[in-house]
Amino acid sequence: MTKRPMPQFFEPDTQDFWDATKDEQLTYQQCNLCDEIVFTPRARCTSCGSDDLARKISKGEGTVYTYSVIRQNRNPAFADLGAYALAYIDLDEGFRMLSNVVGVENPLDDVRVGQRVRVIFEKQEEGEYLIPLFIPI
């Protein structure tokens, strides 16, 4: 089982997002006034400044916008992971999220820009929150 670091809530903005992961829900915000999609989570709309933001549940499907296969990370939580793919995922609802593309044999050959992916939730060795990751559809 992996040991990805848990979010730390010295800040309140991402609390709801992470709480929802415990129910395997990927959530984003949408402004009730101007319809702007807001991600990552925060207190006010990035288009109009309103704090009237609705929380929505994503279907969890999207497209790899770009990625990099990381060969070297000195952070102990990732040092032993081997090569892994960091990626920006454009979710179909219109928000972009940083994550990893996993569930592939060799990330160097099996991850590409434009690839369709869907979310999975990974339980960690320690900590209550599940980490949203993406696998090819």
């Binding site: 990805r4 670091p5 848990m6 979010p7 730390q8 809530f9 010295f10 800040e11 903005d13 991402t14 992470w18 999609i37 991600f39 990552t40 989570p41 925060r42 916008y65 770009t66 990625y67 990099s68 296969v69 990381i70 060969r71 070297q72 990370n73 000195r74 952070n75 939580a77 990732f78 992971l81 090569a83 892994y84 960091l86 990626a87 920006y88 454009d90 219109g94 928000f95 972009r96 999220m97 940083l98 994550s99 990893n100 160097l108 820009v113 434009g114 980490i131």
Partner: protein, 394 residues
């Protein structure tokens, strides 16, 4: 807008050592400030404006004033990453033109090599911020943010690793003519202290796909200082003034549906060129923040040296070397790739621009009259700043 010449770089110093275990960062700053004042022929007591990126032990607007024993009446502590010095130079121009300052100091000191700071591969260390919570679980490293820009650029425009390698090749070509850069590469135990080829870059190991080791900046100690003075002061300094004639500031950050191949420079650089009243094709020397090859590639486009997506062809064939025509000379000190990168390289972009326009570079462009210094701070591909300064010879 008519070009204004209100403020000039009149004194410069680049701390020569890139491995300095026996001094502190604030000592590097103070030593560099004294050397830059000496270069200008100005006195410690002439300083009336302090710009500081809050680096060095106990530094900052207050701490550095106290350490130096000065009482400046303009204090600016802009800290926006590696481009902080372009932002500070912009503010010094503004403050001097407004009559608020006459002799401004900008300084930098860092111990990244001695402290073995893993700048590129250390992963997220900030915890408890709203953005860190969305990054830390994914093992995002600094370099991976740049690598993701490179992949998208390749996908959209067909740019190749071989093309990006041209940036490393030109930069090393310049570094080998700079004795301080040669010493830096020696002290930091580079595998080969010699000119390199595109193939050498391709053969170096991949750190974060698609970026190779020889496309990554070094991690050094170092620092420097710059004195920016009013035109009245500049009349009587020892050196030829290097005029600051245009500035631009901008931010860029991750956005839903945003274009990751466009940097903050696309917003700020046109403002700087317009203020200066010059076009990119008139520029003799381009000092562009080379944290990685892709940073330079993207910024060359965003500064208007070529169109978005065309940088691969633009940089091919050694066009960026100081003795080639058809484009500006790039990073003629040897860059962050091969001369000096303690973490905030923006200082050195201004220093080498000044050397070019004073005719003192080790890779001197004949008759250089116009230069641009463009710093990119933070993470290309993530949240970052772009600071552009256009400079002119006297």
């Amino acid at each position: 807008m008519a070009q204004q010449r209100e403020a000039a770089i009149v004194g410069i110093h680049e701390y020569p050592s890139r491995y300095a275990p026996d001094v502190s960062a604030i000592q590097i700053k103070a030593t560099s400030i004294k050397a830059a004042l000496d270069d200008a022929g100005l006195q410690w007591s002439d300083i009336d404006a302090l710009y500081d990126a809050q680096d060095g032990e106990g530094g900052g607007g207050l701490g550095l004033s106290a350490y130096l024993g000065i009482k400046p009446t303009v204090i600016d502590t802009t800290q926006v990453g590696g481009s902080s010095y372009e932002f500070q130079a912009a503010h010094a121009m503004r403050d001097i033109a407004a009559g608020k300052a006459n002799v401004a100091i900008l300084s930098y000191g860092s111990k990244s090599a001695t402290l073995r700071t893993p700048i590129g591969t250390g992963g997220a260390t900030r915890s408890g911020s709203w953005s860190a919570n969305m990054e830390a679980p994914y093992g995002s490293t600094l370099i991976a943010n740049y690598a993701m820009v490179a992949h998208r650029h390749m996908h959209e425009y067909g740019t190749t690793s071989e093309q990006l390698a041209e940036i490393s090749v030109a930069t090393r070509y310049h570094a080998m003519r700079n004795p301080d850069a040669v010493q830096a590469m020696t002290d930091l135990q580079f595998v080969g202290v010699n000119e390199i080829t595109v193939q050498d870059v391709m053969d170096s190991r991949v750190i974060a796909d698609p970026l190779h080791l020889l496309e990554c900046c070094m991690v050094s100690d170092g620092g420097g200082a710059i004195i920016i003075a009013s035109k009245e002061v500049a009349r009587n300094t020892k050196t030829k003034p290097v005029w600051l004639i245009g500035s631009g500031e901008a931010t860029k950050y991750r956005e839903n549906a945003g274009d990751i191949t466009v940097s903050a420079g696309a917003q700020g650089a046109p403002i700087a060129f317009a203020e200066a009243g010059v076009n990119p094709d008139e520029i003799d020397s381009a000092m562009i923040y080379d944290s990685f090859s892709i940073t330079v590639a993207v910024c060359l486009e965003d500064l208007g040296f070529c169109k978005k997506g065309e940088v691969g062809d633009y940089i091919s064939g050694g066009r960026m070397k100081f003795d080639q025509h058809g484009g500006p000379a790039l990073n003629t000190d040897g860059g962050g790739l091969s001369s000096n990168h303690p973490g905030m390289r923006g200082m050195f972009l201004l220093l080498e621009s000044a050397r070019q326009l004073r005719g003192e570079s080790t890779s001197q462009v004949d008759g250089a009259k116009l230069a641009v210094a463009h710093g990119n701070g933070g993470l290309l591909g993530g949240d970052h700043t772009g600071g552009t300064i256009v400079l002119a010879a006297d």
